[in-house]
Every structure is written in C-alpha cells, then in structure tokens.
Symmetry: C2
Subunit: 474 residues, 2 copies
Amino acid sequence: MNAPSSLDSLVPDVQPREVPDVLIDALKTVFGDRCSTARAVREQHGRDESSFDVPPPAAVVYAESTADVSRLVQLAGQHAVPVIPYGAGSSIEGQLLAVQGGISLDLSRMDQVLSVNPEDLTVTVQPGVTRRQLNDVLKSDGFFFPIDPGADASIGGMASTRASGTNAVRYGTMRENVLALEVVAASGEVIRTGTRAKKSSAGYDLTRLIVGAEGTLGVITEITLRIHPLPEAVSAAICSFPSLDAAVQTTIQTIQLGVPIARCELLDANTVRLVNRHSHTELPESPMLLMEFHGSPTAVKEQAELVQELATDLGGNDFAWATTPEERTRLWTARHNAYFAGVQSIPGARAVTTDVCVPISRLADSLGAAIDDANASGIPYFMVGHVGDGNFHMGYLIDPADPAQREGAERLNQTLVERAIAMGGTCTGEHGIGLHKMRFLATETGEGSVAMMRAIKQALDPKNILNPGKIFSL
Amino acid sequence: MNAPSSLDSLVPDVQPREVPDVLIDALKTVFGDRCSTARAVREQHGRDESSFDVPPPAAVVYAESTADVSRLVQLAGQHAVPVIPYGAGSSIEGQLLAVQGGISLDLSRMDQVLSVNPEDLTVTVQPGVTRRQLNDVLKSDGFFFPIDPGADASIGGMASTRASGTNAVRYGTMRENVLALEVVAASGEVIRTGTRAKKSSAGYDLTRLIVGAEGTLGVITEITLRIHPLPEAVSAAICSFPSLDAAVQTTIQTIQLGVPIARCELLDANTVRLVNRHSHTELPESPMLLMEFHGSPTAVKEQAELVQELATDLGGNDFAWATTPEERTRLWTARHNAYFAGVQSIPGARAVTTDVCVPISRLADSLGAAIDDANASGIPYFMVGHVGDGNFHMGYLIDPADPAQREGAERLNQTLVERAIAMGGTCTGEHGIGLHKMRFLATETGEGSVAMMRAIKQALDPKNILNPGKIFSL
C-alpha cells in the first residue's frame, strides 16, 4: 500500500477536462435557468462532507425528469464531459467532487414519491426524495423505510453509496432494500433493472451492480424499495457499561444468539461526554449501548430481557427505557447529533471520519486498538458504532489548516483500515470509496477484482463521463 | 415476443465450436484420468433436469482445486473452447448443456467445508459441497444454512442460479446469503470478491454480479456464506382451505402483517392428491398451506396463533401440527417429493416446469389463471408454491415423444410468464434463465438492460468461453 504523504495527494493528479462553451450554450438552450454557471451554485455543488479541496464543476443542471437526465448525459457525452450526480450533498468520501471537471447534475427536484404499494410492501420514488420525506409519506399507511444513515440523505444517493446506518442490523442495507431501478446509461438510454417481485433469477443482477457504484455506471432516476410495516411495539433503551469491552461483548453475544435487535449503537465515554455537552443531555459518561427492539409487545419484551441478562453478566447497568415516540426521538437525536457534538466541540475543527466494518468476532480488537491509537496520537476524536453489524466510525477532529494534523488523522485511518482488512473486514461499511478510500480498495479486494470493476466501467461508459475518477483511477 | 413453435427451437442454432485434439491431449497430460472422454461420462454431464436434447461436451474434467480450475480455463481459453461448470447436475433450465460444445468442468470433488466461524455466523466452502452436507456439518455447532431449493444441489450451483426455495421468505435467497467469493475469471486469474464483514460499500458489488450469472462470468471456486443459529423452537403446521383463493389470501395477509414466517408453501388439491398417492400420506385433498415458524417458544406460538386466526377467518381448518423433528421431516419430505409425485403419476412423463414470481398482491390472480389455463388445456399438471415470496411452479406433465404436448406446455408457460411480467413480476424466481427463459428476458427487463448484460459479458469474457449461449444469445 502506497500511503500518500498528505490528504491533498489523495485527489487524483488529473487535469480537469475542458468543458467547451458550445456545451454550456446547448445546456442553457435546453434547460434555461435550470442550468447555472453562477460561482456560488457551482461551489455549493463542488463539495460534500469530505475535507477535499477541488475546483467546482463548470455548471450545475437541475433535472426535473428522466428525460432531462437523458438529454444532459447525451449532450455531455458528445463532448466527453463528466456528469456528476448530486442528491442532498451529504456524501462523506468526496463522491460529489468534480475531480475531472464537468457538470454537476442536481437531482433534488426529482422528489416525487411515485407510487406506494402497501399490499406488496414496495414503494417507487424519484432519486431526490429524502429518507425523512419518504417516511413522512409512509407513516400514514403504517409503514416505514428503515435505512437511516443519520443525514437526511436522498434515496438516490443512499442507493449509490450502498448506505445503511442504525437499522441495518435487522433490516439490511440498501443492497437488500432496493428491488428495482430506472437508470440513465452513459449513452443516454433509459434502462430498467429488476422488478417488483421480491426475488428473481433473471440474468445478471444489474440492480445490485448499480447500487453502490457511486454514479459511475449510470444515473439512477427511479428506485423501487422494500418497505416494512411499522412494528406493533418499539422500545428503545440505553445501557452503560464499566468498559468498552463489556459493551462490545454484549453486542457480540446478542448477535451470535440471533436476537433480532433493530438498532444496536455504541458510543464510548468520550463521545457520550461530547453529546451531553452538545445536546444538554445527562447521559452517564461511560461506554454506552443504545438499543431498539421491534416486534409484538411480547417479542420486544423477550428480546430486551435476553439482552439485559447478557449485559448484566458483563457488568452493564439496568436499561434506561424510552418507550414513548417523543423519548425515543430525543434519544436517537442525541445519537445522530454525535457527529456535530464532536465537530463543534473544537471551534473550527473538521472531522476525518473512518468507516471500517469487521466480522463481529473481531469487533472488540478492532475498536479497542482504534481508540488506543487515537489516544496515543493526541488527536481528539469521537466514535460512534453500528456495532451490531461490526461497523464503527472514528471521527478525528483536526484543524484543517494544520497539515500535520491532517496527516496524523490519515495515518490513524490507514492503520485502522489495514488492521480491519487483515481481520477479514472492509475499509468502508457504508460510506463508499469515493476519493478517500481509493488507495485501500486493491488491498482489500485484490488487483484482479479492481481490474474487473475497471473493465465493467469501460464497457458501460467507454467515454468515462459518469462521475469519473471515483472508486478507482481511470 | 417471438414464440418458437417447438421446444427444440429454444436451443440456439449455433454450431458447436471445434475442440481440437491438441487441447484434449493437453488436458489428459495435465489431469490424467481426471479428464474423461468416455461417452457415458460425457452424456451424464451433457444434461440436467431440463427437457432439452443437446449433444454432450467433448470431455469432462474433474477439478480438485482452484489451481485445477484456473489451469483448465487457461487451456480452454487458448483454443477459445467453452467451459461449462457442473456441480450436482440439478439445474432445471438447461444451464449445464454444451450448446456450443466444449468441456464440462465437474466441481463435485471440490467438496470441502473450509472453515466454520460460528462466532461470526459465516462458513466458507468449496463449490461442490451440497446443502445437505453443509447442514450436517453445521448442525453439531447449533447452526444451519437455510437456503433449500429441494434438490441436494451444490452450493456453487445454488450461487450460480441465485437459488432460494422454501425458507427464503424469512432468510432470503443466495443473493442475501453469499458474503464473498473466490472466482476464476475467463483469463484464468483467481480473484476475490467481498469480505467476511456483514456489509460493505467497497466498490462494485462483484459478489452479487457473479451470484446468478450461471457460470458465464467466472467459475466460482470458494463461497463464504452467512449461517444462522438453529432456532430455539420450530413448529410446522398444515392447514387445509375450502378454496385456493382462501389459502392465497391467508398467505398475502400473513406477509402484509410482517409475520416472520419461515416457510409458507402451497399445494393445490390436485397436487395433494398426487403426493398422497406417491408418499402414502393421508393429507386432506384440498388446497393446503404448509408452514413453519422459527423463534423462541413464545414467538413461535404468537406467530402461529396470528396466522391461524387469519386462516380461520378465510375458512381454513385448524392447524395440524408437526413439532418433533421426525414429524417435520416427514411433512417436508412429502412436500419435496411433490415433483416426483407429479412426474411419476404418469408413466414416462416429463415435467415442463415454470417459475414465475409476482408481487404478492397479484399472487391470487396469477396462480388462479395458471390453474384455469392448465385445466382448460387438458394437460395434466402439479403445482407447488413458495407463496410467501409470490413464487410458484406449475409442472406440466407431458409425453416427451409428443411434440404437440410439449408445444402445449410451452404455450401455457408463455402465457403464464407474459401475465406475470405484466403484473410487475419475473419469468424466474429461482431457477435462472438458462436456455429455457432466454426468450423472455428482454420482455421482462428491456433490450437496454440485456444489452448492458451482454456488454459486461463481453468485457469480462472476450473469447466467450464461460458457459456461452446461456441467459442471452452471444
């Protein structure tokens, strides 16, 4: 693994491609004021939640229909100009950055819930629908869409990064919950993948290929999702532990026993302290599991009692319960705010976030070493974990103006990733590769596998116009 | 859709490629008596459970290692000769047939369970391990692998057809249960996809691309699977209904309420009659659901009571229970034998099987019309359904020597498939495309999507040596 010596060197050393005036003129003719070259608009679309500094795209086009997307892709293709799909701007690893120049394709106006099929437990949406918007629509019918990455991300973006989050331990990730797609291919052609049937053996699984492809194989213009009945009973609990290891061991045993826990999140003592300060909560400042149980009242009670028993054996406190929707919302808001609690704890700080996921038996080792390394480095951090899945995030809090801190954080990340891969894990559980993890992909999956991905990309996008320079260099 | 006028015309009109003597000589030198050109061996490997009549492969090679597979693929590639992976020979749609000639690659001797990781709920196996063999190994540790297509298929074959079967309604299909693969690419290179982590966002989902690719993109040489703890309690029940519609409506309501039923199988009255005659059972000869519930004793009781209530409201009888392992085995053996009960009910008959899967709300319409059509045609049939997933199989019992009957059965299948696709369903829930469903793929997914599949195939297998002529023409 060749480690770059600074974060900036993670940005590929590629000249942005020229975006000819004739293309901009054509876009303005076709899209009118839905094509903007205003500096502020371009800059807003030229960044995401990552720390990279890359010049913005040459223009931003707001699509309102699949036909718009197809037209844009065709026009850009004629000039071999990159097209970068943009949803809610919440990606973390540099997915939205115009590293090879080009046009940002803003899909946020394609925000219609096209059909809800409660009887089939499916819904079809446009890519700009956000997960909160979707859940507001579903709630009245007694359903919900469980994938919850924290941010109010767009469904198209969540599909593109194979997002997951707090509920994935029970309900799976976008991989399991996307049934079918409409996609604009690099040629501009509109294709469909999958059906509304729950399963299929009909040819190559193009749905799963495009989910997680970060917009490099096609622009997603419609998504059919599985939805789930709102559980009859929901209980949320927190449990404090004498040590991080005790909390992790409780998690491991819960998963190994097959308890269908719906959420199982870990904060270390340091992060609980940051959350208390930020959200004015009074959570006990020791390692803490935040859990949620879904099912019938009996099933929920049974699951909770079993996990309480495991926790007690490991020195955990009695569960503190949040059973009303309001209490639960408060609890999960505190959890979701952990990121902001961390970043805002140091004025001007930015977070370099990590995203490893390991087989659950290696979780204690992986997490313990990560925290030891962070403490030894002196770089402040927070940590949150979807530990039921073996996935956790360290957020290293750095001064973005201090290259030494950025490099220190990247070194910590590299050590963490290499350790996770050696344990049979992955460099990214849910954020995607983007720019930030490109250097780890071959280590994780081998050069042969990356070559296979590159061959697929070249076959489906021969002009390399769809979000080029992400996942692997090309 | 261009319907061929006879079953034989479903076999692509392609000349088998020449297999030069120099290749056979090289294979004999490398593999010794593990390369066979004996007629009986070739004929055994030149057919599966489908009704197609195709000349056998030129030779059969028995691989004992990944290195063997790689060597064979390299040698075949030098002469652009097809390689057709062969597991247990139980595929149904013609996947194993040497339609372009070539070498059958028998993987049944690669039958080692390489590692069991109970603490991570994963297992890694060679492709020739069968599902029963795997479950025998797992049982002693308190785990099981749920995917159960009926036949004692090989895990490699099950991955390649994206198999599912009776437990998929709760545990998912091979799509959800394969975590990682080792694959020999068309170049002979050995690549790895996925990791042992439960989830990942690391680049293109090559695992899911190769699962279901029917051996056309690579030869699977190692599979890492998710396993599940044996449930604390298991109860199986049968319930008879006054009408097929009542049984189907009970299923639909069970799924819509989110009951985590583990198995939910339907037999119509005609099929129950055939099963009774074949297996000497005395099941009531009316439409019947066979169900299984997994969980804690309380959860199992609660689920069963809820479904019983739904069934009773629709006129279903009281559940007849099978709670001991022996009773359950007897019940599921009777269900698994439905295929043989059908085929053996008419001396010399063969079954033309169908495999549509529809959104659950359309199950009653789809199934009812299929049975009406079969009755109107006068062709005897049986039907079994993984109805919890919206998937069912008609087995049309034909005299293989009577072209009119074969064409009649294919016409019934075509009507059934077209109706399922119009309902938002798929032509194949779990058997794959093979040869038999090729003509329906474009109808289901569109020409653009098939073109994308073809482009991927051409990029990854430029000499078209890996199981060519399956899924789509090439």
